[in-house]
Every structure is written in structure tokens, then in C-alpha cells.
């Protein structure tokens, strides 16, 4: 399937209607790319190189990005982070971040071990409870966690030693060649607990008296409950303890509305939820469909600037379906509310503001609410908001006993917070090649109409959260818009010198449940730019890799691409219906390049067969962890580019399970994956958690075009399989099979 050819071949096999275009690509790519691969210079290219016009205005993200803002705000209280050295010689660091599978706990432990000059086994990492005195230093997001801690590791180790009455360690090695722990292959700290079933997630916590509770949610997003018509009947069902109508409310962000059932087991709570006869009220998006939403977003984008006379123009419009984070652990929380106190267990990316807001919800002082942050089964941005805690606390208060709340997967998909649906309009202008001058890129405009991104979590504490959420119950406040534009401006950049360039965000104040999603604004924006890159290259008669080499702004971006080109054998012969595709990306100071191979013989069900991903994270801490995050980025790319998107009908996503929302399963994931980590060359530490999505996303979309002849425009690209939707406002019954 992925037959390897050691003979570089500049031509791809014939592929039906695509022959002419692909022949053009094939012939144009030969000299520059082979020259680059061989390192032999570019003495006799078929076309001369353009002198790229510098990115104008200059890219501020090169100098200041969203993680920098978190690094700075976290720094204020970093000395307060809890770290201790025990009499057994073990350092214990209570990390004020959520470990959701991204490996930050392991990376931080490795950094402590290196600094303290002890084996990794002598470092323990725990999850800090919500610690309000840390202020802005307990938010997990923006691929910032390891970047935040790295400068403070020496001080934290010194603090632990001082508390133990010991002097600071002699300084840890600064030469990477002398590292004892950093850069070495280790397994995740919790791997043994995971493979033995001992790792305890939120719903695995043994909280005395906490009773299983499920919530049935409305027929439309942000709909409501008019009446429950059979409460007495349901209250009499086996195992049922309480039925609680969860009304609108909530500080900072609105509470999820619905009808909750507390029972002896989740199976009985689910049965009882299904038995509820509820009259619902409409939501905020009644009648909305995919088409109506995209129409609204399209209309929000002002006209792009016109092209100059004689310029070649690419005008393109892209859509991205809404996506759900769908971490395998559904949204859940345990709350034990008593007179004058509340105790919470949940996986939270912003536990301080969650604690402060719940205190306001319950009429308690913040100090009366204690929140335990439990490592979660994935998050991907979803747990920046704490809606299950709001519901669990309300139900616990009403029922007068601890509540162990879990959303059903169906409602977790339908009423969850989404990566917002979006429309991108692009206009790229070029000077055509002439006999005397090579073609060149003059300008690149990309305008994005998007459902407003809810950023009312602020920097993870109540002040910045209220700054984004006043007045309450308004979906789009001035403060939220400010955060949104700030995040966009400090995250989304361009690795290319495309002359006069602008990426602009036009949020539309539709009241949907949205939240950051891994690489939220960056991934769609950069996927589009990578697709347009290939289209510009084709118009200028250049090979996609040669074009990128010519227009990339920064040496590290060129270096990862060059490494990738040789590892993936760019340009090798591919069977009919198969093609390679390339993507390059920079994010959070990391650089990545990806070449994929894609099987497009069935153009409705294209499939990635091979991925080569090269990443430069500056200072690699945990190679195995970096590879894992790259695998995660590839999984996102394979899924969101090809198969996974939600379908909106009458204000509600129709999908209710992983069989309908088609995130990649084993059979969808490429079998042949090579990840190459560039060696530590002394560059500063960069972000990791989100950065490996976009190079593969662009590469997959580009391979899709080259393999299928279809122009990638509406994501996900593959045909979506029909399914019978669970009726709105209902939950599916349990599946049955015989043992």
C-alpha cells in the first residue's frame, strides 16, 4: 500500500482527469526539490526563484504569543507553587495544571529531576487543589504549561531544599549533552497505574454517599424545561433517589439546563432519565441548520480588498463544520454541598474561577469551597469551563446529598461546547511569471466569519472572568470579544513571506456553547493557508515543496521541511489514486513539517496511509511524550480534515455517538507513522500540546486534492455517512447483546 521507492521520481503516475495538472506539478518540482534534498544548491532550476516580499505587517506572534501572556501572568505567583522534599529524598510537586493526558506531569517531573540531580523515581507529581492565591497561575491552555514552569524550576527546587534545611543544588548541566534525564525516553509517570486499572478518574473517586446522577438536556442548544409531566412516576422507579429540575442560572457562564435524576446506579439514573416526560422550551438557535449558520457567518465577512491589475488571483471559500472535543471521559463532576461548605472533585483547566463562581452560585464564601482537580480522560480545551460542576453542585444542594454527575455521551456531544463553525474567505494575489522575472506572491488576505468563541474563563480567576462576562447572560460581551481578538492575534501567524498579509477574525454573536479546542483559531486558519499554498504553487508552476522553501520566512521552518522531504521521499512514485501532500506550520515557537500519503481511490472515503512528521520544539524534554502529542495531532488532523464534523439541524447537533461523529478509530489511523524530533540546538523551549495538528492537517488536505482531483473546501472532506438520529431531547437506550 505504501510501496517505497528508493529511486526519486519527479513524476507521479497518471490519475485520470488529473493528468494535466499533476504533470505540471511533477515537471515543475524537479530541480529545486532535488537540489534541496541533496543539499547541492539550486544551480540550474527550471524557474528562477522569486525574491519574496516580506510579511507585511510583521508578525507580532514571533515576538509575543498567547503562551507568553500566560507565562507572564503565571510568573507572579510561581514561587507559591507547592513543592516539598521529603525525608525519603523524594521531591513532591503539586502541579497547578490539569494533566489530561498531555504528559505535562511527566515533563515537569523530568525537569525537577534534572535540576535536583536525582533519578526520575525520586520525583512525584500530584495535582494541586484549586489554589486561589495562585491567581492567574492555575490555568491549563495555550500550550503554555511547560513553558510557564521551565524558568522557575531552579527556584522551585531550591525552595524545596530550603524548606528541608538544605542548600541549593550545584547548578544542573546546561549543556544538553550532559543531561541525565531531559531528552531521555521515559514512560509516562502514570503508565503503570493506567495499564493496571488503578488510575482514578473523577467518576472513579470513592466519595462516601455520592450518588450516580445523570442529566437529560433540552431539544435544542440552550433550550429550557417548561414542565416535567411525570415526576411522581419517575421518582417511584427502581433505585431512583431524586428528580431535580436544573433551572437557568450560574455565575460567569450559564448553567446547563435540564432534568437530573439521582439513583443508586448510573444504569438506573439513565433509565429514569429516559422515562421522563418533559415539555421543553426552545433554545437560542431554533431553526438553525448548517446552511443557515454558514450563511450568517459568510455574511459577516466584509469584502476583501481587490487585486491589482494584471495580478493572478486565487479566491477561495472554506467551511469548517462544528467539532466536539468528545474526550473519552464524558463531562462529569462530584459535588458535596452542605450548609456552609462545598467540596468538589472534577477535571478542570480553570479550577480557581470554577471555585469562585460556584461559591457565588451557592451563596458561600470562596474559602468555603474546596476543589480537588482530578486528572482527566482527555480535555482538548473542553474543561476550560466547569458546567458539570455547576449542575452537580445545584443537584447536591437540592437533593441534600453528594452528587456524582455524569453527562450521557449523547447529550455530551449535543450540548457540549464546540469548536465554532466557521467560514474562511481567502484572496491571494500573485505576479505571473514572465520571461525575465519569476512569479511572486504579492498579498494574502484571509477573513474568518466564526460563531463567537466563549472565552469567559479569562485567565482562570474571577476578575478576568467577570471582565469577559459582564453583563451576565449576554453571549457576546465587549470583554469576551476582546479576549477573542487577543487570542487570535497572539496565536495565529504565518510562516510565509506573502507580502501584504492579513488574517482577520469576524465573530458573530450567536449564543452557542463554544470553547477553545486544541489549536482553536490556529488550526483551521493554517490549514486553509496550507491549501492555498499548494494552489499558489500550481498557479506559479512550482512544486509545493519548492514553493514553500522559497517563501518560508524562518530558517527553522525550512529545516524541518527539508528533513521531512528527505525522510518521506517527497516526489517518489505513487500508485494510481494515491498521492503525497505536504504541510508546514509554526505555533507556540515550535516548527513542524509533515508529508502524508493518502489513498484517494474512493474519493468519498479518502484514507491517510502514511505520515512523516518532523518537529522542532526547541528544547525537547520528554521524547516519548513529544511523540505522543504528535500522534494526538495526527489523530485530530485525520479526523477533522476527513471525517469528523457535527451536523446542525433545528438548533441541535444530530450526532450522539462515536459511530456518528467519526473521530478516527484504529482502521482510520495511518499504520506507518514516523516522527522525527529535531535535536536540541539551544533554542528556547516551545509549546507542544496543540502544535502538531496543523502541518498534518494541511498535508492531508493537499494530498486529498492530488489523489482525488477534488478541491478541498468544505471540512470534513469525506462524504458523511447517513445515520438515524436520536430524537431531540431524548437519550438512546442502552445497546443490548447477549453474553
Amino acid at each position: 500500500m505504501t510501496a517505497k521507492s528508493s529511486r526519486p521520481d519527479t513524476r507521479e503516475g497518471p490519475a485520470g482527469a488529473l493528468v494535466s495538472r499533476r504533470s505540471l506539478l511533477g515537471s515543475a518540482m524537479s530541480a529545486p526539490v532535488m537540489g534541496a534534498v541533496a543539499g547541492a544548491g539550486l544551480a540550474t532550476p527550471q524557474r528562477a526563484h522569486a525574491v519574496p516580499l516580506p510579511l507585511t505587517p510583521a508578525d507580532t506572534v514571533d515576538y509575543y504569543d498567547v503562551a507568553d501572556s500566560i507565562v507572564q501572568t503565571s510568573a507572579l505567583t510561581m514561587p507559591l507553587v507547592d513543592i516539598k522534599l521529603g525525608s525519603d529524598g523524594v521531591y513532591t510537586l503539586a502541579v497547578p495544571r490539569l494533566e489530561s493526558g498531555t504528559g505535562i506531569a511527566t515533563a515537569l517531573a523530568m525537569m525537577v529531576a534534572e535540576q535536583a540531580q536525582v533519578p526520575l523515581a525520586k520525583v512525584r507529581v500530584t495535582s494541586a487543589d484549586a489554589t486561589p492565591e495562585l491567581i492567574y497561575n492555575q490555568i491549563t491552555g495555550g500550550s503554555s504549561s511547560v513553558r510557564c514552569f521551565e524558568p522557575f524550576i531552579p527556584a522551585l527546587v531550591a525552595k524545596a531544599r530550603a524548606l528541608a534545611g538544605l542548600p541549593p543544588t550545584t547548578s544542573a548541566p546546561s549543556n544538553p549533552a550532559q543531561y541525565q534525564v531531559l531528552g531521555k525516553r521515559v514512560s509516562k509517570l502514570d503508565a503503570l497505574d493506567i495499564v493496571t486499572g488503578r488510575k482514578k478518574f473523577t467518576m472513579d473517586q470513592a466519595v462516601p454517599g455520592a450518588k450516580p446522577t445523570m442529566l437529560r438536556m433540552p431539544t435544542q442548544i440552550r433550550g429550557g424545561v417548561a414542565s416535567v409531566n411525570n415526576i411522581a412516576v419517575v421518582q417511584g422507579m427502581p433505585g431512583v433517589i431524586a428528580v431535580v429540575v436544573v433551572p437557568p442560572g450560574g455565575t460567569v457562564v450559564p448553567r446547563q439546563v435540564g432534568v437530573a435524576v439521582m439513583a443508586e446506579t448510573f444504569g438506573q439514573a439513565w433509565d429514569a432519565c429516559r422515562a421522563l416526560d418533559i415539555s421543553w422550551t426552545s433554545g437560542t438557535n431554533q431553526g438553525q441548520t448548517d446552511a443557515s449558520v454558514f450563511g450568517t457567518l459568510r455574511a459577516a465577512i466584509p469584502p476583501l480588498l481587490p487585486a491589482g491589475l494584471g495580478q493572478m488571483v486565487i479566491d477561495a471559500e472554506f467551511t469548517f463544520a462544528p467539532a466536539t472535543h468528545c474526550p473519552l471521559e464524558v463531562e462529569c463532576a462530584i459535588a458535596d454541598v452542605r450548609p456552609g461548605s462545598c467540596e468538589i472533585w472534577a477535571g478542570l483547566q480553570t479550577p480557581i474561577v470554577a471555585t469562585q463562581a460556584i461559591a457565588l452560585d451557592l451563596g458561600l464564601l470562596p474559602a468555603q469551597v474546596k476543589t480537588h482537580v482530578i486528572p482527566s480522560g482527555g480535555s482538548f480545551g473542553r474543561r476550560l469551563f466547569w458546567d458539570p460542576v455547576q449542575v452537580a453542585a445545584y443537584v447536591s444542594q437540592q437533593a441534600g446529598r453528594p452528587c456524582k454527575l455524569m453527562y450521557h455521551r449523547a447529550d455530551d456531544i449535543r450540548h457540549t461546547r464546540l469548536r465554532p463553525p466557521q467560514v474562511h474567505k481567502v484572496r491571494a494575489t500573485m505576479l505571473p511569471p514572465t520571461l525575465l522575472l519569476p512569479g511572486n506572491v504579492v498579498s494574502y488576505q484571509q477573513s474568518i466569519g466564526i460563531v463567537r468563541l466563549d472565552a469567559r474563563h479569562g485567565y482562570g480567576e474571577i476578575g478576568t472572568a467577570l471582565g469577559g462576562s459582564l453583563p451576565p447572560m449576554v453571549a457576546q460581551t465587549v470583554g469576551n470579544l476582546g479576549y477573542e481578538q487577543f487570542f487570535f492575534k497572539t496565536m495565529v501567524s504565518s510562516p510565509y513571506n506573502f507580502g501584504i498579509s492579513a488574517k482577520l477574525l469576524f465573530p458573530v454573536a450567536l449564543d452557542w456553547n463554544t470553547v477553545s479546542y486544541r489549536s482553536v483559531h490556529i488550526n483551521p486558519a493554517r490549514t486553509v493557508e496550507e491549501v492555498v499554498c499548494d494552489e499558489m504553487a500550481a498557479r506559479l508552476g512550482k512544486d509545493p515543496v519548492a514553493f514553500r522553501m522559497e517563501f518560508l520566512r524562518l530558517p527553522r521552518a525550512k529545516a524541518v521541511l527539508q528533513r521531512c522531504v528527505s525522510a518521506a521521499q517527497w516526489g517518489k512514485a505513487m500508485p494510481a489514486g494515491f498521492a503525497q501532500g505536504v504541510g508546514v506550520h509554526m505555533e507556540s515557537r515550535s516548527f513542524s513539517a509533515c508529508i502524508v500519503e493518502l489513498d484517494g481511490r474512493d474519493a468519498d472515503n479518502a484514507k491517510v496511509t502514511k505520515v512523516t512528521l518532523v518537529i522542532d520544539v526547541g528544547k525537547p524534554i520528554s521524547p516519548s511524550g513529544i511523540e505522543q502529542q504528535c500522534l494526538g495531532g495526527i489523530a485530530e488532523a485525520v479526523s477533522l480534515v476527513l471525517n469528523a464534523g457535527l451536523t446542525i439541524k433545528d438548533g441541535l447537533p444530530q450526532e450522539t455517538s462515536y459511530n456518528q461523529y467519526r473521530f478516527a478509530k484504529m482502521r482510520d489511523f495511518p499504520k506507518d507513522v514516523q516522527i522525527i524530533i529535531m535535536p536540541n540546538a539551544g533554542d528556547p523551549i516551545a509549546g507542544m500540546g496543540e502544535v502538531a495538528m496543523s502541518a498534518p492537517s494541511g498535508a492531508i488536505a493537499n494530498a486529498y486534492r492530488r489523489a482525488t482531483g477534488r478541491t478541498p473546501r468544505n471540512f470534513p472532506l469525506n462524504a458523511r455517512a447517513a445515520f438515524t438520529a436520536t430524537p431531540p431531547g431524548q437519550l438512546p437506550p442502552p445497546a443490548t447483546q447477549t453474553a
Binding site: 489530561s100 493526558g101 498531555t102 525516553r185 514512560s187 509516562k188 502514570d190 503508565a191 497505574d193 493506567i194 495499564v195 493496571t196 486499572g197 488503578r198 488510575k199 482514578k200 478518574f201 467518576m203 472513579d204 470513592a206 450516580p212 427502581p238 433505585g239 443508586e264 446506579t265 448510573f266 444504569g267 438506573q268 439513565w270 468528545c326 474526550p327 473519552l328 471521559e329 464524558v330 482527566s376 480522560g377 482527555g378 450521557h408 455521551r409 505522543q628 500522534l631 495526527i634 489523530a635 485530530e636 455517538s657 462515536y658 459511530n659 473521530f663 478516527a664 478509530k665 484504529m666 482502521r667 489511523f669 499504520k671 438512546p732 442502552p734 445497546a735 447483546q737 447477549t738 453474553a739
Partner: protein, 152 residues
């Protein structure tokens, strides 16, 4: 309520439960065995996979009345004391897990596969439908192959 008797990880147990209660909730809510996870309840994600009489089953989809007298093995019962099962050891050696939530189910599915066939093909592995949201599939595939050579 009726009572049902079966073994879990070789320990005989008897539970009072409604006949149609899914085994997953008997394990988690009645017996406090939390290795098997809920991810969907409709046999789509398979995070609740356990062995029933040695065969992988999604316990969200089996009623307790169907396991009377049967032997259930959960992730907690796979190792022999401190000696990990070859599949667990391969998972550990290759650093497979990320968040870890799906991994008990993935491991049980792999044990079932390797019990059925010593040399699974790519197609056999592709037939495992357990959902992993973190993207550990490549390492799972490799770990199954490593474990295959070490199965008793």
C-alpha cells in the same frame, strides 16, 4: 430484587440487582470496580470492555441476568500479582497510554485478540473498534505485535 452470582477476577460475588442492569454498572456502582469505563453506553466506544468467560465483551451492553455463573475478568484482574500480563507489559514498555481512559478497554480487546490468534494481521487489529481520542493507535498496534511474541 433478584440476586445473581458470578465471579469477578476469580472472586465469587453475589449481587442484588434489577435483571436488566448493565454489567458495567454492577461492576462500577455496586462492586466498586472502576477499571472498566463508561464512554457511551451504546457499544460504540468500547471503553467498558472486559472478558466474559475469556471473551471480550462491552459490559455496557450486557445485562446482569446474562452473566449468572460466568467468569468476568476486568483490567484489575489481568496481572498475576505484581507480574503484568504480556499485553500490559508491552503497553508499559512502549509507553502507549496518554490520558489512559480508554486503555483498560484497549488492553482487554488486545488480550482477547491474542487469545484467538497468535499472529494477528493488520486487518485483525483494524477490527478492534475501541475508541482512543488521544491517538495512541500506532503504539497500540506495535504493542499488540510485541505482546504476541510473549503470550503464554
Amino acid at each position: 430484587m433478584p440476586t445473581y452470582s458470578f465471579t469477578v477476577n476469580q472472586q465469587p460475588v453475589t449481587v442484588d440487582a434489577p435483571a436488566d442492569l448493565a454489567v458495567l454498572w454492577v461492576l462500577r456502582d455496586q462492586l466498586g470496580i472502576t477499571g472498566p469505563k463508561y464512554g457511551c453506553g451504546v457499544n460504540a466506544c468500547k471503553a467498558c470492555t472486559c472478558l466474559v468467560n475469556g471473551k471480550a465483551e462491552t459490559t455496557c451492553s450486557i445485562k446482569v441476568s446474562a452473566i449468572q455463573g460466568k467468569n468476568i475478568t476486568t483490567i484489575e484482574g489481568l496481572a498475576n500479582g505484581d507480574a503484568l500480563h504480556p499485553v500490559q507489559q508491552a503497553w508499559l514498555d512502549l509507553d502507549v497510554p496518554q490520558c489512559g481512559f480508554c486503555q483498560p478497554g484497549q488492553i482487554m480487546a488486545a488480550v482477547d485478540l491474542l487469545t484467538r490468534t497468535k499472529n494477528p494481521t493488520d486487518a485483525d487489529i483494524d477490527a478492534i473498534e475501541n475508541m482512543c481520542r488521544c491517538g495512541t493507535y500506532v503504539r497500540i498496534r506495535k504493542a499488540i505485535r510485541v505482546a504476541a511474541s510473549k503470550m503464554p
